[in-house]
């Protein structure tokens, strides 16, 4: 099992070299050679026009269970309130379910969750609701057990969840117990109707490359999606069923104990909820210069954001960090000051409605996603904007 080059077919054209994300291919004596470290992703095989690259893998013998049907969305609730990402996933899920001509269900755990009918408004045909005081807080052991049990009982073919701190923590556990595939942080979900497969696309290598992934034979096909990647879309006049599930306390035990929750109160305006965000990067040069952005933000009623370097250097708390290891945000207006636009940052904000970039490097990648770009010194431009906005 592995990868090899058929020397009879290989012409040494070198088309396979660039696509290899690990840079492992060299042409030696006019034939391609693959060095150690190949993880069989197949990018080179795609690129080869001569079918000279062979990837041998054990044939998957597991039969696809035809009894797996339906798309599920795990709808997360906190303190009795559903989250926006739940609706975002249901909106996309509705489109996927229509393509597959199957039903869309929401699964919800908690206690006294309000407005559960909203899940139906956003697309769910059914809502499986397990309501119990034990589930009021995010007891991950209980959630893992309960979701696994429900999946085993009802056999959905696809399960989606928000890539929130809860989602990224317990969904993989469910996938491992079910021995099925899970793809994290998907930015696109499509259906291959012929093979009834969910095509899961996500950034890899810090967003430099996109990869499309499938879970071929195991079920359910599971994927998590970051908040604000899909847009929520309420549909008029929808009807559906809310099915109350009895929580079997004896059946599921929690090994870990949640003792306390301490809220982070430093963030006055949560950046995830802000309509306008003024954000700073390495170009600010020092911590004190966030002051300039704070003044602009104050005049605009905006929240303050940051790329990763200022957070790493301690200039601003982590709760303001936008990007792959920070928060994904999608405000109406995002103003990036002194931010170069590294892929990890773009991953966190590029779906914002309007993006303004201020940077004195005309080649900064941020200009590629900006709606309006100002090539200039932020120390001149930002105060200018603040002054003008104050003036009127």
């Amino acid at each position: 099992m592995g990868i090899r080059i058929d020397p009879d077919k290989c012409t040494g054209c070198g088309d396979c070299i660039a696509p290899c994300p690990f840079g492992l291919i060299e042409i030696i004596d006019e034939k391609a050679h693959i060095n150690e470290g190949c993880n069989l992703c197949g990018a080179c095989q795609e690129a080869c026009s001569y079918d000279a690259i062979l990837i041998e893998a054990a044939i998957e013998t597991a039969a696809i269970s035809d009894s797996h049907r339906g798309i599920w969305v795990f709808a997360e609730a906190k303190d009795g309130n559903l989250k926006s990402v739940d609706y975002e996933l249901l909106s996309r899920g509705r489109e996927l379910a229509d393509t597959l001509k199957t039903e869309l269900c929401a699964v919800c755990f908690g206690h006294n969750i309000s407005e559960v009918e909203q899940l139906i408004a956003y697309g769910a045909d059914k809502v499986y609701l397990t309501d119990d005081p034990a589930l009021a807080s995010h007891q991950e052991d209980l959630y893992t057990g309960e979701l696994t049990r429900l999946i085993q009982e009802h056999k959905p073919e696809i399960v989606l969840a928000g890539a929130t701190s809860l989602g990224r923590s317990f969904i993989p556990r469910v996938a491992a117990i079910l021995k099925t595939g899970l793809t994290a942080d998907c930015t696109e979900l499509e259906i291959d109707t012929e093979r009834r497969l969910l095509l899961q696309t996500r950034p890899a290598f810090g967003g430099n490359i996109m990869a499309t992934i499938i879970c071929q034979t195991r079920r359910p096909q599971m994927a998590t999606v970051r908040p604000r990647v899909f847009k929520k879309n309420p549909l008029a006049g929808r009807k559906g069923q809310i099915i109350k599930v009895d929580f079997n306390k004896e059946g599921v035990t929690s090994k870990t104990k949640l003792l306390d929750f301490v809220e982070d109160l430093t963030e006055r305006v949560k950046i995830e909820d802000a309509d306008i965000i003024v954000s700073g990067g390495r170009g600010l040069d020092k911590a004190e210069n966030f002051q300039l952005l704070e003044e602009l933000a104050a005049v605009m009623g905006a929240a303050l954001g940051s790329s990763r370097p200022p957070v790493d250097d301690g200039w601003i708390p982590y709760s303001h960090q936008v990007g792959q290891t920070g928060k994904t945000i999608c405000p109406k207006l995002y103003i990036a000051c002194g931010i170069s636009g590294a892929v990890q940052h773009l991953a966190g904000m590029q779906t914002s409605d309007t993006i303004v970039a201020i940077n004195n490097d005309p080649d900064a990648p941020i200009f590629e996603v900006a709606t309006y770009g100002i090539v200039g010194d932020l120390f001149e431009v930002v105060p200018m904007l603040t002054e003008k906005l104050k003036g009127r």
């Binding site: 099992m1 069989l40 054990a58 701190s165 491992a176 890899a204 870990t256």
Partner: protein, 261 residues
């Protein structure tokens, strides 16, 4: 406390750039590094050992060159290191990786805590930690930002969530993933470097781990990559012109027109 730390060797991806003309990867000899989040895991393991006594074992699944990260680990707190390497492991997704790591940890037998970094910078899935916990059938806590206390077979930790942190108590053994807020990894010591240089790092192959070959590598992977492509990046906006003063004025007008401010 017997601690196992999982490390992964990854390409130093921040050095990977795209050539805008050809839309292909520009490779300036991608250097391999230890996954940065794993250095925090190793450091925490070393600190727990210093506080409570015990041993830190570093393990890594990868090709033979992954031995480098294990040697580095020996100079910064690990007492012993084991490489899990076999061509059968190639092509593993997180499920197959977790299975293989679990086989190794079960072979190590005596362990109280398994520490992983929050996620890798190449895969970014953050899945191996939780999946590993299920393979080992032990409790799991993600995003640990502080280990408050270990006492009598229980551990109390603080872990980060979106809007604050939770205090969680878990019985041991358990698997945790850590975030970078948890500590500042130490630099190697001279004695550590000397020890690492001369240390023997055993390699455990598929046979030694007694793996089920349908559970490892490509066969053991539930997911597979079917396509890799480069995101299309197009300039979709306008770069304003004129003096900075005019540009600022113009921007404000445009934003007002769009009713954004």
């Amino acid at each position: 406390m017997n601690i196992v730390v999982c490390l992964k060797q990854v390409p130093g991806t921040t050095q990977v750039k795209i050539d805008p003309q050809t839309n292909t990867l520009v490779r300036q000899g991608i250097k391999n590094i230890v996954n940065p989040f794993d250095t925090y895991a190793l450091e925490e393991g070393a600190r727990i050992k210093e506080r409570y006594g015990g041993k830190v074992t570093a393990i890594s699944m990868g090709p033979p060159q992954a031995e480098e990260v294990l040697r580095e680990a020996l100079s910064t707190g690990a007492d012993q290191a084991i490489l899990l390497s076999d061509s059968a492991f190639a092509g593993s997704d997180t499920l197959a990786t977790s299975y293989t790591l679990a086989r190794a940890i079960n072979k190590i037998r005596e362990y109280d805590l398994v520490i992983c970094g929050r996620q890798t910078i190449d895969g970014d899935t953050a899945q191996v930690g939780p999946e590993l916990a299920e393979m080992l059938e032990i409790p799991f806590v993600a995003y640990v930002s502080q280990i408050a206390e270990i006492d009598n077979g229980y551990m109390r930790v603080q872990r980060m969530v979106e809007d604050g942190h939770e205090v969680i108590e878990t019985p041991l053994p358990a698997v945790i993933t850590v975030v970078k807020e948890i500590n500042v990894p130490r630099l190697p010591s001279l004695r550590g470097l000397a020890k690492a240089k001369s240390a023997v790092i055993p390699t455990w192959t598929a046979k030694e781990l007694g793996v089920d070959k349908n559970m490892v590598g490509l066969s053991g992977s539930a997911t597979r990559v079917i396509k890799i492509f480069f995101p299309q990046r197009v300039y979709r906006g306008e770069i304003l012109q004129g003096s900075l003063e005019n540009q600022a004025e113009s921007l404000i007008n445009k934003l007002r027109e769009a009713k954004l401010i």
